[in-house]
Symmetry: C2
Subunit: 207 residues, 2 copies
DNA sequence: GTCTATACGCCGATAGAC
DNA sequence: GTCTATCGGCGTATAGAC
């Protein structure tokens, strides 16, 4: 339990080898301008390559860059969730850890959270599996199911509980990322966690 | 108060004159495939035009179509909000009416709500004013400010209250639109309204 | 294996025939 | 004023020189 949860290395930033340099550049651009308005030329400039051709030494085409990015981020999210589930099987603690992670990421790697939020609705990434169909999503859904079964979460459609809970979380993060909420994510963490959790907690008198 | 609120004619569907036929086709395609993956050819087919050129008789370019659509939808939303504010100045009733409207729209004109949700984050509509900067948004923000001043809403950052409230609403609508929640929006209205309102209500014991 | 130069397709936009 | 035919540009992708 005191085994700390580091900011996950969603993308290795240490000794940025070439492919990661490209991915970081792409992530930043996609998060800022979107996939379709980002050209390969933009990416190669941002990654300090001499020309577009260099991209093709590492990725077969543009979609592959986006898709690799998508996989990196979702795989790491998935791993983080596995870690969390391994550490405790109490839904309240699992959800708390996930929220902690997301808020921490918002401060430390805002592009990644932006990418996640965009991937939620978007025309981003031609025909990719949406956020809603990723393994990470399914695992989180199971947390809600489990919480309802054990009585920690009140007895409503688990999908609805999830909608409420992450509606609060993701919308708050979104306003932070767009600057409508002007403090760091960390400043809103405690309050927002309480709002989201109390809303779905069994013993809560919200209902 | 019993002055009924019709589904607003966001886009006149009655005797669909040409420009509206085009807008409806575009709305549907943009909501489904996104702006950038929708070609003028797609739009002209969907609108049953004989050729792309016909589009140019009504709109100067592709962006104009998207922008007109954006204006129609946001202007109508804005008008609806004005109506609501004129009918009552009690924030709880105003917010309830807005939520009613959004859920009704989700059942009656899902593309419009989809468009609104997409416009929230998106790379949609090159460089347009985001949802967050529209007059409609500002007016809703004032409802929260007012509610806090009169004591109906508890005393937190109004932007945060808004984030929580509409996080629940919009995330729920999103899951309905994507089919993850499989009933009609109307079936979730009462419960979701309660969740969202109780969360920010002053007398609520959620906190 | 690095980069320049170029090919190719798609799509937005237009011109001009009827 | 309706439609066909075409242009031009951008952006992806490749070939080929060094």
């Amino acid at each position: 339990m005191d085994q700390e949860l580091d900011t996950p290395q969603i993308i290795s930033e240490k000794k940025a080898e070439m492919p990661d340099k490209i991915l970081l550049a792409a992530l930043s651009l996609f998060a800022k301008k979107g996939y379709f308005t980002t050209s390969l030329s933009d990416i190669s400039s941002a990654a300090n390559l001499t020309s577009i051709s260099e991209l093709y030494q590492h990725y077969p085409d543009k979609r592959a860059i986006a898709y690799t990015l998508y996989e990196h981020i979702f795989d790491n999210l998935n791993v983080s969730i596995d870690d969390i589930r391994r550490r405790t099987d109490k839904p309240s603690e699992q959800l708390r850890s996930i929220v902690d992670l997301l808020f921490k990421l918002t401060d430390d790697a805002p592009h990644i959270v932006n990418f996640l939020l965009i991937a939620k609705t978007n025309e981003f990434l031609p025909e990719q599996k949406a956020l809603l169909d990723s393994p990470a999503f399914t695992k989180i859904y199971k947390i809600f199911q489990h919480g309802i079964k054990t009585g920690e979460i009140r007895n409503i459609d688990p999908m609805l509980a999830m909608a409420y809970f992450f509606g609060i979380i993701s919308n708050t993060l979104h306003l932070i990322l767009t600057g409508k909420l002007d403090k760091k994510a960390d400043a809103y963490l405690a309050q927002t966690w309480l709002a989201a959790w109390n809303l779905i907690e069994k013993k809560s008198s919200c209902f």
